[in-house]
């Protein structure tokens, strides 16, 4: 892992060079922060805090055309998927989420769309110096300076950014930017360690997940699910905006004699998610749906892939309109054990 220093005076030049590569970075749009394309000549200001919409939306778009078709034409038309993309300012939790989600998209079937996009994407991360209120990445195996899933990790040192290369893809970018960078001195690395340590100490919430994956199946019929889910609205917030949620539905859209097959985000918190054609719903209430969401992340995924499918970004806790708070749920699960 090589470490380079980018003086902030060279920042706009750095962005200028990247913006030719289909660059996306967090941008504030009214009340939300989300990834937006950076046009050539534009600059980027990275601040603290994460985006409302996670960057998963770029690799796994909310609506994605799988192919187009039309009557009288035997061939299907497939998307090109050949454009490279650079995501800048990705938080370590969100990058870890991409690494976790890959497990699913490589599992029994290699998903060509996701994997191709992943391959074409370079992730330049930004370590969190100021974790937010509900950040709890260290509880679930991450950290505010985790490099998992990233190609490069940047740390804001004040006057400059420290760039640590993680992968070959990252190396290629650093190589291209050589003229703007300098070898990082030892005290820069020291400073980074201090910042990372400080960030970990600033994390206010958390839970030790030890025992939760084993406890969940035992608590299948526990009254706690009724209690937790009673206020739930059954909306898509906690799943659509979760960086590790990957459920989708496939639908055809037809207009005249042509159409497309597309996949779109779906959520296990919706009633239709499990509704059968007959009208029967094996998860008839929000109790079963809430139980599924937690079980999927903290039990099923662990069984299948050996890791918790939550990276502790805190979005679900922060954004739930009725204060259904994951950290609190996990505490209740531990208490009920």
């Amino acid at each position: 892992m090589s470490a380079m220093l980018l003086n902030k005076e060279k920042w706009s030049e750095f962005i200028g060079k990247l913006s030719g590569k289909n660059l996306w970075a967090p941008a504030v749009q009214g009340e939300v922060k989300k990834y937006a394309p950076v046009a050539e000549g534009e600059t980027v200001e990275l601040d603290e805090g994460n985006t409302t919409v996670p960057p998963k939306a770029l690799l796994f778009p909310q609506t994605e055309t799988l192919y187009r078709f039309s009557t009288g034409k035997e061939e299907l038309e497939f998307p090109g998927l050949d454009e490279e993309m650079v995501l800048l300012g990705v938080r370590p939790c969100d990058a870890r989420a991409m690494a976790l989600v890959e497990n699913l998209f490589r599992w029994d079937f290699d998903d060509p769309y996701y994997l191709k996009r992943r391959e074409l994407t370079t992730l330049i991360g930004l370590a969190c110096n100021e974790p937010e209120l509900n950040c709890f990445c260290p509880s679930v195996g991450g950290s505010p300076d985790s490099t998992e899933g990233l190609d490069i990790l940047m740390t804001d040192l004040g006057e400059s950014y420290l760039l640590e290369t993680v992968t070959e893809k990252g190396k290629a970018i650093v190589e291209e930017m050589k003229d703007l960078l300098e070898e990082a001195p030892a005290d820069a690395l020291e400073q980074k360690e201090q910042l990372a340590k400080g960030a970990r100490e600033k994390i206010r919430r958390g839970i030790d997940p030890e025992g939760i994956p084993e406890a969940l199946p035992q608590l299948w019929e526990d009254p706690l699910w009724q209690r937790i889910s009673a206020p739930c609205l059954g909306c898509g917030i906690c799943t659509y905006l979760c960086p590790t949620c990957y459920c989708f539905d496939i639908q055809d859209e037809i207009e005249g004699s042509a159409g497309r097959r597309c996949r779109m985000w779906d959520s296990c918190m919706f009633a239709e998610y499990t509704k059968h054609t007959s009208g029967h719903n094996p998860r008839p209430t929000r109790r079963e749906r809430t139980r599924n969401r937690i079980n999927h992340k903290y039990s099923y995924f662990v069984d299948k892939f050996g890791v918790i499918a939550c990276v502790g970004c805190g979005r679900c806790s922060t954004l739930c309109p009725v204060n259904i708070d994951l950290i609190d749920i996990l505490r209740q699960v531990k208490a009920a054990q």
């Binding site: 609506t63 055309t65 187009r68 090109g80 859209e253 207009e255 497309r260």
Partner: protein
Amino acid sequence: MSEQFKPNIVAFLCNWCTYAGADLAGTSRIQYPANVKIIRVMCSGRVNPLYVVNALQQGADGVLISGCHPGDCHYMEGNYYARRRLKLLKELLEFTGVDPRRFNMSWVSASEGHKWKEVVEKAVEDAIAAGPFDQFRRRQIGW
């Protein structure tokens, strides 16, 4: 541009009055612009406001809804409900920035072939003035 622009107008006409009125205009050889695509419904009260939204999404530059005069509804009161609902829809469309000239509503009875011609002329004129409505088109965008 307005010279070449031929607006697409979707008209929802009630079976009992305006549809018959339009028919009368035809049999009386009254000439009126050919831009309206008529969809017959049983009553103006049957026009779900989403028909209007969907028409605009699918390429209409203007929408026209027409039924019996108040008091003449075949179902006694369907057009009264239509009047309330479509007024709200009209306000909503205007508030979201749809040019009000894209939405017209009229009462045309079975005997008013001439009024039908005037209504269509007005709707077409309005839609031409408002111009093509592309912004709201349903598109199968993006891969």
